[in-house]
Point group: C2
Chain length 231, copies 2
Amino acid sequence: MAGHVTYREVKATILDRIKGGAWPPGALLPSEVELAAEFGTARATVSRAMRDLVEDGLVERKRKAGTRVRKMPLRQARLDIPLVRVEVEDQGAVYRYALVASHVGAAPDWLRARMGLPGGGEVRHILCMHFADGQPYQFEDRWISLDSAPDARAADFTAEGPNEWLVRQVPYSNVEISFSATAADAEQAQHLGCALGDALFRVERQTSWDGRELTFVRLTYHRGYRMTARY
Amino acid sequence: MAGHVTYREVKATILDRIKGGAWPPGALLPSEVELAAEFGTARATVSRAMRDLVEDGLVERKRKAGTRVRKMPLRQARLDIPLVRVEVEDQGAVYRYALVASHVGAAPDWLRARMGLPGGGEVRHILCMHFADGQPYQFEDRWISLDSAPDARAADFTAEGPNEWLVRQVPYSNVEISFSATAADAEQAQHLGCALGDALFRVERQTSWDGRELTFVRLTYHRGYRMTARY
DNA sequence: CAGTGGTCTAGACCACAGA
DNA sequence: CTGTGGTCTAGACCACTGA
């Protein structure tokens, strides 16, 4: 025996047939049983390959209906969301963090509405900067609900950013993230070293844990920042 | 017998233990064999659950070293990249497309460098607009290599956008995508109905197929556009 | 070397949805 | 009803890598 046929080989073969046009968009593929017979593998191996192809957005599967090549390939980009520090260090630059301001108070109305906080909820508001090789990299404007994370009231954010602190506190969370463009206001322009009104890339992220809203953060990047992915 | 224990149940149980702090970040989990014994399942079932957890970025696995809870949860957002038409229609709005300009010519130097095209390569350059309920939604500035896609020379883009045409031609492709913010230039401001210099969200996408560079597109969105994902 | 995850097999039963 | 994918089992061998 020359060894088993792997699911990777099966996947590659199927992929080649789709790429090559042998199975055009919309086409019905043979059943798992038929493919297993053709490739000389167990059905589970074909199934494993197919699961990958579904995940890659290339085929659709329905019970009884079978497997079809997607007409409009539903492609999805996977964006890694690292800590700023890791992102900077991965570029080979020296990372530096600086706390700008921090205070505790009642949540403003817009934040209560946005995060769905109860009335009278207290929050800790933190402004801080992240630098790469001494250049402004990211301006962070964060609100942490003290109802959900009471330990944040006394946490020390002078040496370490709130993100790194939070990651240690909460091992798992649900996140809604959004990307947009914004014109630099006076505060952002000052900290990021750009002109008022410059177009800046902005990420807003709201994190909940165990069904409770935990933190809302607005990250504004230096002029010219790009976020890149492949798929 | 009350039936089998499913891999989803195994996954949920492990997830609960991680969330609950029973297995804190960095902790070593029991081996698959031990977990299979505990849950009363086959090892393959535990393995299936673990594969999901790896994909979700919650644990790391190494042969011989075992499975550990990730210290810094490497979270990744999955961004769906639909056709503009689908994106607009999914919002319940009426989609409209309009061709602005199109011509064939030699690729400019910056594009040749960016796409890695050979000297003397011809490209088709297309400018077009996408509307939602009559409002400007996206301005598309696309270049298609005629070396890679000769059929694009004669294709008719008056009724249908080049993206939909390309998707039909090429069932599979490799994509590099990047997101950034840009200040509206005169042309963008005119077509998107905003002021000169307004901060706009921009997507740049370069697509290759079968190892050849196929198309480069710059998509500029209307003022206030957000791209959102959950993870 | 030995323990861990990675994969394949052959078989089985089930859930769903098309005909 | 019947064919399809979805999953689980019990067992086996392999590949990598830490001790």
